[in-house]
Amino acid sequence: METTEIIEDKNITVERTGEEIRKLFFKNELCASCGLCEEICPVSAIEVEPTGAMVRTEQESSKINIDETKCVLCGMCSCICPFDALDLEIDGESIKDKEEYPKLIKSAEIDDELCIYCKACETACPQTAITVSRELPARADLVTGEIEVDKDKCIYCGMCEEMCPADAIYLEEQIPTSDNPEVASDIIIDEDKCVYCGICKRICPEDAITEACRICPYGEYEIEEADVTGSSIIDDELCVNCGWCQEICPKDAPTVTKPFEGELTHDDEICQGCETCVMVCPCNVFSFPQPSKSGEKVPKLFKDERFCIYCGACEKSCPVDAIEVKRTKVNYTPTKSKAWQNAFESLKS
């Protein structure tokens, strides 16, 4: 039986060989330096580096240190990490797939039936975990009409081409020569692009264009409703279950379950506005309010608890202890182990 540690590219692997092979993996990139692993470790083998220093300044080391002489590879850190930065595998199988291990109950899903692919969630997601792709119908499918140029009347002045908002008119310009004294050889209207707005007709000095929109006189019933298709995908590895997508969605398509419940308090008196929490928070809970007019007094810091997962990174990072994160509930799957139950419950304040 032997325990070894390998650090590669700030990622850590601790391995114990024996009756079974236990491997603990740490992915530095996913870590928010929240300190929960350090808090739950039953043998004090984990030390999390100062959160602000790790996030705000260039550091060559991993965000956490694991003392392989103390680590017993029990897996508690891996089960409590809300960012899945830690994972314990026993004989190649993640303990997150093993029933006997308690796991944080956390999820984020977007209901395809409700999603209209507006991309608000994609824009708001603090972890860029959401990818929305959509396919819009062809513009021509949403309009119908007729347009024609009387080429005998057309003088190829190009005003219609210049004015067309849909870039649907194209003049084949040419330099007039003695044998062909014309400024253009042809005028082409792309009916796939034309929206039958009538601007060309109105600008034409020669009344060479006839145009009729069929929607305006007959109403909308003849036109099929626009069919937008697409997909909204949440990358589970990047998602931190903050709830931004759920709160910003105009259609209530996302459902987010958070791993912790609690209370976040911030003392504006003590706060010096150093911005560390703003930068540290993986959920964009904090922002600096901007005054709308000069001289207006705004709070130093704004927080919206709807996005908070109570990981504690902000509290750990605040240099003046102006932030307090209280956890009132840890959501986890049931376990028969008293020790594990106690460990999970101990994270409540």
Binding site: E20, E100, S337, A339
Partner: protein, 167 residues
């Protein structure tokens, strides 16, 4: 791990073949004990990984050195941890060590696992007797195989194991 220094010096005075002699002494004691428990010679040969004729010789008091048996007897009376470590060092085989120890030790132990057990399986890896298994993130020690070496007890990171000798 701690090994009784005295016995090593005794062994060393007998040269390279000494370990083999002691093993035969241990196997002799094991064979006799197994016979007392009513096992057939065939079964004994199987358990101790010996051929049947050797078992038969042993049981009839032939082909064994009485000095070896004396030394072996001293070893079986070591504290369980030393007995185990030395036997394992001599046999270099886990399965055989388990069988020899089980048949040569009369003492019985019972283990109590506290609620504080986190199921890290360090004890499972440490137990030379393969007496420990995990069930629902909690260790279970099979009294049938626990031999009281207490390595699990001392190494447990959460002090969750208590081993008691049963009268």
């Amino acid at each position: 791990m701690y090994i009784n220094i005295g016995i090593i010096s005794v062994i060393n005075t007998h040269g390279d073949s000494m370990p083999r002699h002691i093993v035969s002494g241990l196997k002799y004691i094991a064979a006799v004990n197994l016979r007392k428990k009513g096992h057939t010679q065939k079964k004994i040969a199987e358990i101790l990984d010996m051929d049947r004729s050797t078992v038969s010789h042993y049981l009839n008091g032939r082909n064994v050195s009485w000095t070896s048996i004396e030394i072996a007897e001293v070893i079986t009376n070591f504290c369980p941890k030393d007995f185990m470590i030395l036997t394992y060092a001599l046999l270099k085989d886990r399965e055989q060590t388990r069988n020899i120890i089980k048949t040569c030790s009369a003492r019985r132990y019972e283990a109590f696992i506290k609620d504080s057990c986190i199921g890290c399986a360090l004890c499972v890896d440490n137990c030379l007797m393969n007496a420990i298994t995990l069930d629902n993130l909690r260790s279970h020690i099979d009294p049938e195989w626990c031999f009281g070496c207490r390595i699990c007890e001392t190494e447990c990171p959460t002090d969750s194991i208590e081993i008691k000798e049963v009268d």
